[in-house]
Symmetry: C2
Subunit: 319 residues, 2 copies
């Protein structure tokens, strides 16, 4: 069994075609080629924290994955990162462990950013201004990964903490983006035709009044029962609402809230894999509003961990 540390993982990530790997994963998932049980969840109160266990496999492939990811928001007071985690790969035919990827939760961040990239690529109109709501690691990665699918470098950012927004601005400059700090979500959304929400908010930030024809919105932050970034009635305005998992979005994320409020047209909910395999046309008119709500599926973990491990096997003698 191979134990890969973070430096090896970062090295192996270079040049890996994640868009293609993760797209394959979503397509397999939406075509029911996967076995993915409900997410396991372990909660802590004092200090607060949560652990998610995502696991599963694509039938007749080589591996299955078990991904362990935790979030302990008070860690930063101790000088530790909030997210911790690892991915474990096993042989599908024997259960023999083949690799432990000690990524400290980084691969979860990356595969989430890639899912956002894929949604922006297949659902946006030609991007003229990118609006980013949130200033943390996932907000940054979302923007970084957009570089590969658009030439647009004009960005508006909004965050609760102006200092964090300034920090975001300067960091993203290094990646070639011209970032302006927006005074409000409404201001940001009136000027952007691609909006990414990547916060850990439990209160809506984007409302019906903020919507503009032709916009694509991707909501990344809400991955539990409690988190929420999008206000009541917003999803009803979208011609299609894209989810990474129909099964999962009933329980968690934006769609779960809209279903409870009966403010979504159920027929408009489409699984991402169905757009990627072209069995659903996706956006058909320029003026449509499209919204993607991503809660993260084990098939993404499987694909990124498998991709890194296969690459490692091919380059083993270099390490």
């Amino acid at each position: 069994m191979e134990i890969l540390d973070k430096s090896k993982i970062l090295d192996l990530l270079k040049g890996l075609n994640l868009e293609s790997l993760i797209s394959e994963g979503f397509i397999a998932y939406s075509n029911k080629l996967t076995v993915i049980p409900p997410v396991g969840e372990l909660l802590f109160e004092n200090p607060p924290g949560d652990v998610h266990i995502k696991y599963g496999y694509i039938r007749n492939e080589k591996y299955y994955v078990i991904k362990l990811a935790s979030g302990f928001p008070n860690n930063q007071d101790l000088g530790l990162t909030n997210s911790q985690g690892m991915m474990l790969l096993f042989e599908q035919k024997t259960g023999v462990p083949v690799s432990i990827l000690l990524d400290d939760g980084y691969l979860t961040d990356i595969r989430t950013a890639v899912a956002g990239q894929i949604c922006a690529k297949v659902l946006s109109n030609r991007i003229d201004t990118i609006g980013i709501i949130g200033t943390g690691i996932q907000a940054r990665l979302q923007l970084q990964y957009l570089r590969d699918i658009t030439t647009c470098r004009d960005v508006l950012v909004w965050g609760r903490n102006v200092e964090h927004s300034k920090d975001f601005q300067s960091k993203m400059k290094e990646y070639g983006f011209n970032v302006s700090i927006s005074s409000s979500v409404h201001n940001l959304s009136s000027k952007s035709n691609l909006i990414i929400l990547a916060t850990s908010s439990s209160e809506p930030l984007l409302f019906k009044e903020d919507l503009k024809p032709g916009t694509h919105i991707t909501a990344i932050g809400a991955d539990t029962h409690l988190k929420r970034e999008i206000g009541p009635g917003v999803l009803k305005q979208a011609s299609i609402v894209i989810t990474d998992s129909l099964k999962q979005c009933i329980d968690r994320g934006e769609i779960s809230h809209a279903l409870k409020e009966d403010s979504i047209i159920r027929e408009n909910i489409v699984e991402l894999g169905k757009i990627l395999d072209l069995s659903h046309p996706g956006r058909t008119k320029k003026e449509e509003i499209t919204i993607a709500d991503l809660t993260g599926v084990a098939v993404q973990d499987l694909k990124i961990a498998g991709g890194i491990f296969e690459k490692y096997l091919g380059r083993k003698n270099e390490f």
Copy 2:
């Protein structure tokens, strides 16, 4: 983070007071000091296999555990052991991983044997003959761990395969047991006052007609919805039916079958931790039949992994 391989684990196991550790775990569990979500399960069809994820923690202790264990019955054709697995320990206050115990499923076997040992110790009459149904690794470990709690060395064994029974006989001789091979479960149970069932059977092996006053029976094998070792009506004959987890036994194991068949007196079901902390008297009369049905709880994994890791920390400079 410390990665402990199997040879280190075997070394650290020596002299560890597992009976006391695991008993503490059961007591904490039955006194609702633990957070233990439902078991995660990943199933495979071709070849058949299953993976169980057991996880949880005792509030205000140091660690939480995530235990991964698989069973792929066709592995033996490939020269591999059927069980694979590992235990992972994390800090309860931060989610930081502290240790990966690469035990290949061995610690699961051990903590299961210790649970059997504990049941035999607190529920049996003075043991005169031990009956073991099953000849595999768990059957052997159950017997080995009885050495510490009884001077009885007279054993009857029954298995489907006579060659395996002979193998069991010679291996257990090394541990000082005089093993006779029994021609039937009925014969075995008529002569034993402690019976351990440790098979992977999905059909009952021990029936109502096999019961004898004063016997204690521990059923270890049935840990899923499908497995079963004890026939209809047997549990109804017991003055108490002991389970490691009231919550879990509703879904899996012998009690789940008896509940479906309405052939158990619900008030007679007692959690092991309640007997260990003396809030339930356990066996009160010599002639009573007592039956323990164990499906395995994460608190056992937590206790054995934590015990080994703490011992490792104290002896780190030796390795």
